[in-house]
Assembly symmetry: C2
Homo-oligomer: 384 residues x 2
Amino acid sequence: MSVTTAKGFSAAGVVAGLKSSGKRDLALVQNRGPLTAAAAVFTTNRCKANPVLWSEQVIADGVVSAIVLNSGGANCYTGAQGFQTTHATAEAVGEALGVSAGDVLVCSTGLIGDQLDVDKLTAGVAQAATALAGDSGLGAAEAIMTTDTKPKQAEQVSPAGWAVGGMAKGAGMLAPGLATMLVVITTDAVLDSTQLDTALRAATRVTFDRLDSDGCMSTNDTVALLGSGASGVTPDLAEFTLALTEVCRSLAKQLQEDAEGASHDVTIEVVNARTEDDAVTVGRAVSRSNLFKAAIFGNDPNWGRVLAAVGTTDAEFDPYGIDVAINGVQVCTAGEPDQPRDLVDLTPRAVHVLIDLHAGDETAAILTNDLTHDYVHENSAYSS
Amino acid sequence: MSVTTAKGFSAAGVVAGLKSSGKRDLALVQNRGPLTAAAAVFTTNRCKANPVLWSEQVIADGVVSAIVLNSGGANCYTGAQGFQTTHATAEAVGEALGVSAGDVLVCSTGLIGDQLDVDKLTAGVAQAATALAGDSGLGAAEAIMTTDTKPKQAEQVSPAGWAVGGMAKGAGMLAPGLATMLVVITTDAVLDSTQLDTALRAATRVTFDRLDSDGCMSTNDTVALLGSGASGVTPDLAEFTLALTEVCRSLAKQLQEDAEGASHDVTIEVVNARTEDDAVTVGRAVSRSNLFKAAIFGNDPNWGRVLAAVGTTDAEFDPYGIDVAINGVQVCTAGEPDQPRDLVDLTPRAVHVLIDLHAGDETAAILTNDLTHDYVHENSAYSS
């Protein structure tokens, strides 16, 4: 049920002392092989954190021996000193595990603009290296939590003998390209880094990239996929991609369900769009409407705010040919009120908004949350 | 100090019974001439309300005799019946004032998706027509309020003998192209509709279009400029545009200061951009970051959230060559921490964020607000 589900991987989560809470804050995952194939996708934010700048170089050759992740600080906008800290962390992992620092991915999460304590980090790495075990996936998943209320793990085990498992952290700043999240997925299937990359991009495109909790894009997002080949089984790539997508979907759903302060998990399903991009654009516009999201928090099926958001996009549709249903009640048909809004029950946590553009036959669903007092509270007090 | 500052205009604000509160909810402004020149700009939302669809036709010939505005309902996504309601409202004004219904602008504001009571509207129009007076600007300004806590008015009087005055409503859904607002501005300067249009577009581009309280775009926005020519004075167009811009700037500032639930008025000034568009894009991205806005609410100078938002844009800059100052404290220089964030005092309501892109010499300022508990509260209970 974790990064240690697949054969060939060890993990550890330890207390490095980066978090003032004294909780676990450093995770290490080692790929013991025989393969050390890997792929990764990163935030599309142009303001990238030092560990992302580092890891983009590491992944270039498709070889990764280990990944180290810390909470307690993002190491972003920390200048040359911050980059040295990332480098020193990778060196410490390399030394402890007898691998090249250039094959070590580094991820950080926490406040932007503060320096990490490099001594605590490297001591934590040494401690984690001695704690590595084949059953410590949960400890690693706990060590990457920030405002997450629970660790997030998922797995798929193929009857053919290979497995995919992963862990994720992320509770706010969840937005496309990617969300604010760190995700490590491991597999023991026999695949090279090009195959892993193809599968990972296909899987993230329809899962993590469709999660948009609060419209804010992180500087540190990383989703890494490590392949040990330890099962000895070469899977059909399509079948592997399907399993990987399921793991990503489960983790994305767990991220949505644990989004900061949220009281509703909202799925915005856009159907009959001319293109899939149109469907995504429309879904995302609605998912970013603070007015719509505040209304959902108030259990108010204010469908006018859905249409006001749809109208800001350049997707193909006739503004007066759109249907909207909320939780199964058809509140708007062809731009006119249909069923009374009072029929909509928004008391359940899960909310389903269905937008029919009547412009084609493409579909996409965006996962988002409502805008709540607790969201404002958590995010107004983060760095203090 | 209002739409009746300029000569040739009468106004009224009456209780038509559209608002359950029993407050004034219908405003009428008549241009008594001699000129009936006019210009108007409307929301760029593709989901336009019925009064916008109507008024876009009315303004086409540059002739407007009167404008009628109601709160208590947006008349948007109300289908053919809703359009008939708008039409009937204009007809009622035409009949009461002895003008063509085709020269009557109509504006509505309130909940989307509910039908307006056409009988109350037309009775209100008749009542307003008899109440029209040269000193009733304030009553009209009060009648267009929705969640506004105060009426919004502004004026500029030229020593040359002409004047510009206006009123605005809008407290939420303040976003570009334009904000959720209805604005009526009157002038007695002698200008034709083409000149009024040129001046109005120049003025709104740098005022209302730079106000982005919550990133949400309305379906009903209208800014109308009516010219009576009653001063007999033909102004220099540049001078007139300057005065008009000042009126728009004052009204925009009043909208910002009365934004729903806001506890801070935030000016995001972007300097040394390669183009003005770049500066606007960057300012707007920051103004739409819920994380940044929640931090400001918490008096937390979390400048990392500024840079994370800047990094989502395609403006020209070196991500590690950006400086950020908050309320005069240089918290980030060239992508590294500079002055301690603790030095920033965010207790005053006015907040100034200065972002230096070091990429050119263009500048723009976006006006926004913080994201507060009260914003969530007001917008989670609007339609109930």
